[in-house]
């Protein structure tokens, strides 16, 4: 782990994992994401911030084509995952989502499943075979630092956990399908401060192996965990830069106004 960590040089320019170009998204005739062009760097945390309703969630959901599940929703533009355009007609969106996983605002473990089955749910739902399910469960639960808390009650329902634990279980569930990118939509906004701290730690650890995109309302959180930051306003990308640069030296006045609480 520490060997890996030392590999990441904060100043080195990372390769892009996802390249978004001219992405537009609509709900029926409502244009909510407008012409976004952005490269998400590999093995970094990219935070997306902006006032409520500015299109952060919609943008995020375009990245793994979850957006199109909403009736009347439409997207246009290109999203390249390692150079493959995920919007190409030949792409199977279900397969794509196994590479680009997602964690939601509200913890949503499957209520009919035990903790163990929740972790394995991705494989079950994809119909893929797991060689050593026990090991996989343990590994994923350890990754989200939940193993010690639940190892004695893996057969209990996933919803019997506290909401902080549930959210970590949901992250373990995503990790189990071994995605390369993880999208997080306000993963801690429904949690108490202690659970939030847990999630943040986890994000820090995960970025050693995964590319993370995090939508958050909490500027402090964005400052704490992200390497890069994108500021959205009314569907537009106003500014995208390294987090420290954005906080210390934003180029756009609207970014500064937002960060200092003049609006939002």
């Amino acid at each position: 782990m520490s060997a890996l960590e030392s590999e990441i040089d904060p100043d080195a320019t990372p390769e892009p994992k996802l390249q978004i170009s001219h992405l537009d998204a609509y709900f029926n005739d409502r244009h909510v994401v407008r012409d976004i062009t952005l490269s998400v760097p590999q093995r970094r945390v990219t935070a997306i911030i902006g006032p409520s309703g500015c299109g952060k969630s919609t943008f995020l959901r375009c990245l793994n084509r979850m957006h199109e599940h909403v009736p009347g929703a439409r997207a246009r533009g290109a999203v390249m995952l390692d150079g493959v355009d995920v919007y190409h007609p030949s792409i199977n969106p279900a397969r794509l989502r196994r590479h680009v996983g997602m964690v939601f605002q509200k913890p949503n473990p499957f209520p009919t499943m035990s903790i163990r089955d929740n972790v394995l749910a991705g494989h079950r739902l994809n119909g893929t075979h797991v060689d050593a399910p026990g090991e996989l469960v343990e590994r994923c639960l350890r990754q989200v630092a939940l193993w010690d808390e639940v190892k004695d009650r893996l057969g209990r329902p996933g919803v019997s956990l506290s909401s902080g634990q549930q959210q970590r279980l949901c992250m373990a569930r995503v990790l189990a399908v071994e995605p390369e990118v993880i999208l997080l939509d306000e993963p801690s906004s429904a949690l108490d401060p202690i659970a939030t701290a847990h999630i943040e730690e986890l994000i820090e650890e995960l970025k050693e192996r995964y590319t993370l995109v995090l939508v958050t309302h909490n500027l402090q959180q964005a400052a704490r965990v992200s390497d890069y930051m994108a500021f959205f306003y009314l569907g537009n990308l106003v500014e995208f830069d390294r987090t420290d640069v954005i906080f210390t030296n934003p180029k756009e006045s609207r970014t500064e106004d937002y960060l200092t609480g003049k609006f939002g």
Binding site: L81, D82, V84, N92, A94, R95, L96, H99, G127
Partner: protein
């Protein structure tokens, strides 16, 4: 490596995915086939019927005696019977049903509602046959005490018991419509210092009116199609009358009566029941479609 990813992302879904969709869509098609079947069967026989009996005779004749030696095919007596029993039923069901719904949704306490609502829904599910027994063995004798000379089979008894049967239907559907009115509207009204009755009658009911109208239409459609009550208690004599004390024959009674007699296929008598059936189907279709539209309007209102 990148080519691998592209290939991986392009792999199609499992077979079960596509097969499932096909099977499920066939199931959904079954409902269309049912309607298609109903329309085809009714139309087919009705066309055969209309070839023998011109349509104008249905509308101009005032007698319905298709089985007699000199058959006459005026639809009006059956329509009259049907509309009479339906009208009486609605006169009982609408005021009581809507009032009960208002009470349940706006005035009753939480606990009262929790007990009474399922009970009302249970009542709505009681077989019509049982109400028929009720009409024949209890209500008619009671009414004969009040109205001397009332015939043993009569529209009044059948209609009012049908109203009683539909009352829970109207109440339950109207209650759904009333409780779908957002609490925000009631609160807004209260916050303007409006008293309760004014809030109910001028804010809540107008907002729920499409749903209440749908409830009324659905109940009317049920009344048109109700068979057992009228077959048991309203009689079997097609008469052009609007006197509720008379014995009448409804469209459903006629169909039931003839099919009990089991008339052989292909005869004109056999075809009459399909012609009457088509007429009934069209009447209920109109009511059902309007009710469906109205109810969709509520759902759309709820969403934003």
């Amino acid at each position: 490596m990148k080519r691998d990813l592209a290939a991986e992302l392009r792999r199609p879904s499992a077979l079960s995915e596509r097969a499932g969709k096909l099977v499920f869509s066939l199931c959904a098609a079954a409902s269309l086939v049912t309607t298609g079947g109903i329309v085809a069967v009714l139309l087919h026989q009705t066309i055969g019927f209309l070839q023998a009996v011109p349509f104008t005779r249905l509308l101009t004749d005032t007698h319905w005696t298709p089985l007699f030696a000199e058959p006459r095919f005026g639809l009006w007596p059956l329509l009259c019977g049907t509309l009479l029993t339906t009208g009486i039923a609605m006169m009982v069901a609408i005021p009581c049903g809507v009032l009960a719904a208002i009470y349940l949704s706006e005035l009753a306490g939480e606990r009262q509602r929790r007990i009474v609502k399922p009970l009302v829904e249970l009542l709505a599910g009681i077989p019509t046959l049982i109400y028929g027994y009720f009409a024949l063995s209890l209500v008619t004798p009671a009414l004969q005490q009040i109205i001397p000379g009332l015939s043993g089979f009569n529209a009044l008894s059948a209609g009012s018991v049908m109203g009683l049967m539909l009352l829970p239907v109207v109440a339950s559907l109207s209650e759904d419509a009333l409780s779908a009115v957002p609490t925000g509207l009631r609160e807004a009204s209260h916050a303007l210092g409006v008293r309760r009755t004014a809030t109910i009658f001028r804010v809540v009911i107008p907002s729920a009116s499409p749903g209440i109208a749908a409830a009324v239409l659905l109940a009317a459609s049920r009344a048109l199609g109700a068979t057992m009550i009228v077959a048991i208690a309203a009689g079997q004599q097609p008469q052009l009358t609007l006197d509720p004390r008379d014995s009448v024959e409804t469209m459903t009674t006629y169909i039931a009566q003839v099919s009990l007699g089991d008339i052989p296929t292909g005869t004109l008598e056999y075809r009459t029941i399909f012609a009457v059936g088509l007429c009934l189907f069209m009447m209920t279709l109109v009511l059902n479609v309007i009710a469906h539209r109205l109810r969709r309007r509520i759902h759309r209102q709820e969403r934003p």
